[in-house]
C-alpha cells in the first residue's frame, strides 16, 4: 500500500505529480492536526464526575482564523492547478508541431489512425491499428478522438492522461512521452459488457526507430 504514484513518463507528468504530492502534504498535515486534536480531546476531556464543561458559545477570532486558513490554502492550490490544467487540457494547449493521430473508439476497441511518413492525416500513407498506438519519444502527439457508440475514456496511467471519447464530439488531447517503452492503455469509463477487456498498448519509440517503423508500416499500407 503506497501513496507514491507510479513512474510518470510524459512532459506534464512531473507537474501533475508535483501538485499531487503538494496536496498530499497539505491534506496530510490537516489530517494529522484534526485527528490528533480529536484524540487529544477525547482523552483529555472525557467525562469526570463533579466537573462541568466550560460554558462558551464560540469565538469570532477562532471562526475567522479557521475560515481564512482553509480558504487561502485551497485557493492557492486552485491557482497552482489552473496553470497546469491550462497546459494539459486548455483550449489552445496543443503544441503546433504535434504529430496528429485519429482515434475512433467503439465497443470494445481503440482504432488508432497513424499519420504515416508524411506526418499528416487524410493522406494515402495513413494506416490504422487496433488497440495499438505507436508514437515517437520527445515529440508531442495530438489525438483527435471520437467515439462511435457510447462514451469511453482514454487512460494511460504512465502519461498521466485521461480523456473521455464522446459520440458526436471530436476531442483533441495531446501528450509527449519522455521514455521509450511499452505502456498500457485502459478504458476508464464504464462502456458495457466488455469494458474491463478494453485495454491496449502505446509503444514509445526513439526517433530513429519510429521513422523506420512508420516507413515499414506505410509501405504495407500502400500495398494494401
Amino acid at each position: 500500500m503506497s501513496w507514491i504514484l507510479p513512474p510518470g513518463v510524459s512532459t506534464f507528468a512531473s507537474d501533475i505529480d508535483f501538485l499531487y504530492y503538494l496536496i498530499l502534504i497539505i491534506t496530510g498535515i490537516a489530517f494529522v492536526i484534526v485527528e490528533a486534536g480529536l484524540i487529544l480531546f477525547i482523552v483529555k476531556y472525557r467525562e469526570r464526575p463533579g466537573r462541568k464543561a466550560y460554558y462558551t458559545h464560540g469565538s469570532t477570532t477562532a471562526e475567522i482564523v479557521w475560515t481564512a486558513i482553509p480558504a487561502i490554502t485551497v485557493v492557492t492550490i486552485g491557482v497552482l492547478s489552473g496553470g497546469v490544467w491550462k497546459t494539459v487540457k486548455g483550449r489552445n494547449s496543443v503544441p503546433p508541431d504535434a504529430l496528429p493521430y485519429g482515434v475512433l473508439v467503439k465497443q470494445f476497441e481503440w482504432n488508432f489512425t497513424h499519420a504515416g511518413v508524411d506526418g499528416a492525416l487524410g493522406t494515402g500513407d495513413d494506416f490504422t491499428l487496433r488497440n495499438r498506438m505507436h508514437i515517437p519519444v520527445d515529440r508531442p502527439v495530438v489525438m483527435r478522438m471520437t467515439a462511435e457508440d457510447v462514451i469511453h475514456s482514454f487512460f494511460v496511467p504512465a502519461f498521466r492522461i485521461k480523456q473521455d471519447a464522446v459520440p458526436g464530439m471530436e476531442i483533441a488531447v495531446w501528450f509527449e512521452a519522455t521514455e521509450p517503452g511499452e505502456y498500457e492503455l485502459a478504458c476508464a469509463e464504464l462502456c458495457g459488457i466488455g469494458h474491463s477487456n478494453m485495454g491496449g498498448t502505446v509503444t514509445v519509440h526513439t526517433a530513429e526507430e519510429y521513422s523506420r517503423w512508420v516507413a515499414e508500416q506505410s509501405t504495407t499500407a500502400a500495398l494494401r
Binding site: 503506497s2 496536496i23 480531546f41 472525557r46 464543561a53 458559545h57 475560515t67 490544467w85 459488457i193
Partner: protein, 590 residues
C-alpha cells in the same frame, strides 16, 4: 389543498376515536410512524445494497472461486456461481442506486426529517399529514420497481448509478431495456415522493414553530434538514426531467442524447450532475446537523459557533449548485469551464472546514460522555475529514486527470457516504431510538458494533485510496486483464475480506435493533439529558406530540450553563429571568 383542517385540530380529531391498526401503523398520517416506516424500508434497502457490494467485492477479491451461495443465482446472473460481466455491471449500478436513493437519502431525509422536524420545533405534526403519508406510499412502489429490474428480461441497468447516456439510452449497447426503463420510472416516482416530502418539511419549519422557537433557536439538525429540503425541492425535479427524457429515448425513440441526430450525450451529464451535486449535499447536510446535536449533547457544551454553523450549512447548500462540473473535468466539457468549476469546488471546502473545526471546538474543554451515539458522531467527524481532504485531490483539475474514475474516487465517496453519512445515521438512530420506540438499545452491543464497524470500515475503504493512486480503474469486472493492476490483487483480496467482516458486524446492530424494540430497557422521557423539545414528552410521544403547545425560552445547546446546577437546560424550562415570548414578537426573520 382543499383540506381546511389545521394540523392542530386534526390531531385532536384523531385522538377522539380509536384508530384501527391499519390507520395507526400502515396508512398512518402520524409523522413519527411515517418516520419509522421510512426507517424500516430504508434499512431493508441498506441490506440489499450491502449484499450487492459483497458480490462486487467477491468478484474483485476471489474471481477464481465460485461465490458462496452463488448457486442460488440464476444462469443469467452467475452460472455456477461465477458472476457474468453484464451482471457485474448491474451490481455496480444497483449498489450505488440503492445506497444513494433508497438507503442513505430516505434514512436521512425520510426518517429524520419526518421524525424530528415536528418534535423539535414543537409542532403536533407536519403541516400536511396526508401528503406526508402519500410521500411514503409513493416511495414504496418506487422501491418495488427498482427491485423488479433484476428479474426482467435483459437484467437490470448496467450503466452505472449515473446511467450515462448513450450507454443507457439504447438497449443496443448493453442488452438492457426493461431494466433501464424500470430504473428511470422508479427514479421519477421516487422523485415525486421526495418533492412531496420537501414541500411538507419546508412549510412545517416555516409555519409551525412553537412560540419562542425563533430561527436562531432551531437545532442545527432542523436547520440542516430545512436547507436539505430546499435542495431536494429544487434538485430532484431536474433529475425527474432528465430521467423522463432518457426514458423517452429508450421507449419512443426520441433523440435527446443520441449524437447521430443532433442529440447531446453530455447533456445527460450536465442534467444529472446539476441534480447530482446538490444531491451529494442532500446526503451529508442532515448528517452534519444531527451529528452537531449529538456532539453538543455528548460534550455537555453549547455548539461552538452556532451561527457560523448555520451560515456554513447555508453556504454549502448554495455552493452545491455551482460545482457540478467537477464531475465532468475529463468529459470533454469546455476546459475553461473546468477552471471555474475548480475554484467553486475548492471554495466549498471552506464551509466544510468551518464545520469540522466547530465540532472540535465543541468538544474542546467539554465533559465528554461516550455514549454510543457520541462514539458514532465523533467517528463521523474523524471520517468526514478524510473524505473532505481526499476531495481536494479531485478538485484540482490536473490531479483529477489521473485519479478520475479510479478507486480514489470510490474511496472518497465511501469516506463521505459511509464514514460520513452512515456513521451519522448510526449516531442518530441510537440517539433517537428511545424516543422512537420507547426503549433503550443495549449499550454494550452498541459499543461492540461501533468498534467493529469502525475498524473494518477503515480496513475496507482506506486501502482503496492506494488502489486509486496506483491507477486502478473503478467499475472493472476483471482487473487481472491489465498488467499494471496485477500487483494489486493482494490489496483487493484484503479489502474483500474486510468488507465481509464489515457486513457481518452489522448483524450485531440488527440484533440490537430488533431485540431492543421488544426487550430493551424502558426509556425515560429524557435519557440523554438533552435540551430539545422532543425530550419533554413521553417516549414514544403520543399522537399529536405535545399535550399543550410548548413555549421556547432559549436555544437547544445550553449545556453546562452557569445558571443552573444540572449540566443541561431544556429549551422549555422557564428561568426567573425569562420573559414569555409575545406571539410573533421576534418574528420569522429574527
Amino acid at each position: 389543498m382543499a383540506t381546511t383542517a389545521l394540523p392542530l385540530e386534526h390531531a385532536t380529531h384523531a385522538e377522539a376515536h380509536e384508530l384501527s391498526f391499519i390507520q395507526k401503523y400502515i396508512f398512518s398520517t402520524d409523522h413519527k410512524i411515517i418516520g419509522i416506516q421510512f426507517l424500516l424500508m430504508s434499512m431493508l434497502f441498506l441490506v440489499v445494497g450491502g449484499l450487492l457490494a459483497l458480490m462486487i467485492r467477491w468478484q474483485l477479491g476471489f474471481p477464481e472461486t465460485a461465490i458462496p451461495g452463488g448457486a442460488l443465482l440464476p444462469e443469467t446472473m452467475a452460472p455456477d456461481g461465477f458472476l457474468l460481466p453484464e451482471f457485474y455491471n448491474s451490481l455496480v449500478t444497483m449498489h450505488g442506486t440503492f445506497m444513494v436513493f433508497f438507503a442513505i437519502m430516505p434514512l436521512l431525509v425520510g426518517v429524520f426529517g419526518n421524525f424530528l422536524i415536528p418534535l423539535k420545533i414543537g409542532a403536533p405534526d407536519m403541516a400536511f399529514p396526508r401528503l406526508n403519508m402519500a410521500s411514503f406510499w409513493v416511495a414504496v412502489p418506487a422501491g418495488i420497481m427498482m427491485l423488479a429490474g433484476f428479474f426482467v428480461e435483459g437484467g437490470h441497468s448496467g450503466a452505472g448509478w449515473t446511467v450515462y447516456a448513450p450507454l443507457s439510452a439504447d438497449p443496443e449497447w448493453t442488452g438492457v431495456s426493461y431494466g433501464q426503463q424500470l430504473w428511470l420510472l422508479s427514479i421519477a416516482v421516487l422523485g415525486l415522493s421526495s418533492i412531496l416530502g420537501a414541500t411538507n418539511y419546508i412549510t412545517t419549519v416555516v409555519n409551525l414553530r412553537a412560540p419562542g422557537m425563533t430561527w436562531f433557536r432551531l437545532p442545527l439538525s432542523i436547520w440542516a434538514l430545512f436547507i436539505t429540503a430546499i435542495l431536494v425541492l429544487l434538485a430532484i425535479p431536474i433529475l425527474s426531467g432528465a430521467a423522463i427524457m432518457l426514458f423517452f429515448d429508450q421507449t419512443i425513440g426520441t433523440h435527446f442524447f443520441d449524437a447521430a441526430t443532433g442529440g447531446q450525450p453530455l447533456l445527460w451529464q450536465h442534467l444529472f450532475w446539476y441534480f447530482g451535486h446538490p444531491e451529494v449535499y442532500i446526503l451529508i447536510l442532515p448528517a452534519m446537523g444531527m451529528v452537531s446535536d449529538v456532539i453538543a449533547n455528548g460534550s455537555r457544551k453549547p455548539i461552538f459557533g452556532y451561527h457560523s454553523m448555520v451560515y456554513a450549512i447555508i453556504a454549502i447548500g448554495f455552493l452545491g449548485w455551482i460545482v457540478w462540473g467537477h464531475h465532468m473535468f475529463q468529459s470533454g466539457m469546455n476546459p475553461t469551464l473546468g477552471m471555474t468549476f475548480m475554484i467553486s469546488t475548492m471554495l466549498i471546502a471552506v464551509p466544510s472546514a468551518i464545520k469540522v473545526f466547530n465540532w472540535m471546538g465543541t468538544m474542546w474543554r467539554g465533559n465528554i460522555r461516550f455514549h454510543v451515539p457520541m462514539l458514532h458522531a465523533v467517528a463521523f467527524v474523524a471520517m468526514f475529514v478524510i473524505g473532505g481532504l481526499s476531495g481536494v485531490f479531485m478538485a484540482s483539475t490536473p490531479v483529477d486527470i489521473y485519479i478520475h474514475d479510479t478507486y480514489f474516487i470510490v474511496a472518497h465517496i465511501h469516506y463521505v457516504l459511509f464514514g460520513g453519512s452512515l456513521f451519522a445515521i448510526f449516531a442518530a438512530v441510537t440517539f433517537w431510538y428511545p424516543k422512537m420506540f420507547g426503549r433503550m438499545m443495549n449499550p454494550t452491543m452498541g459499543k461492540v458494533h461501533f468498534w467493529l464497524t469502525f475498524l473494518f470500515y477503515n480496513l475496507t475503504f482506506f486501502p482503496m485510496h492506494n488502489l486509486g493512486v496506483a491507477g486502478h480503474m473503478r467499475r472493472i469486472y476483471d482487473p487481472s486483464q491489465y498488467e499494471f493492476l496485477q500487483p494489486l490483487a493482494g490489496i483487493n483480496q484484503f479489502i474483500t475480506v474486510n468488507a465481509l467482516l464489515l457486513f457481518a458486524s452489522q448483524l450485531i446492530f440488527a440484533v440490537n435493533f430488533v431485540v431492543s424494540w421488544f426487550r430493551g430497557k424502558r426509556a425515560t422521557e429524557n435519557p440523554w439529558e438533552d435540551n430539545g423539545l422532543e425530550w419533554t414528552v413521553p417516549s414514544p410521544p403520543p399522537h399529536g406530540n405535545f399535550a399543550e403547545v410548548p413555549t421556547v425560552y432559549r436555544g437547544p445547546y445550553e449545556f453546562s450553563s452557569p445558571d443552573v446546577s444540572e449540566d443541561y437546560l431544556p429549551q422549555t424550562t422557564r428561568l426567573a429571568t425569562d420573559r414569555t415570548p409575545a406571539a410573533g414578537s421576534e418574528g420569522g426573520s429574527a
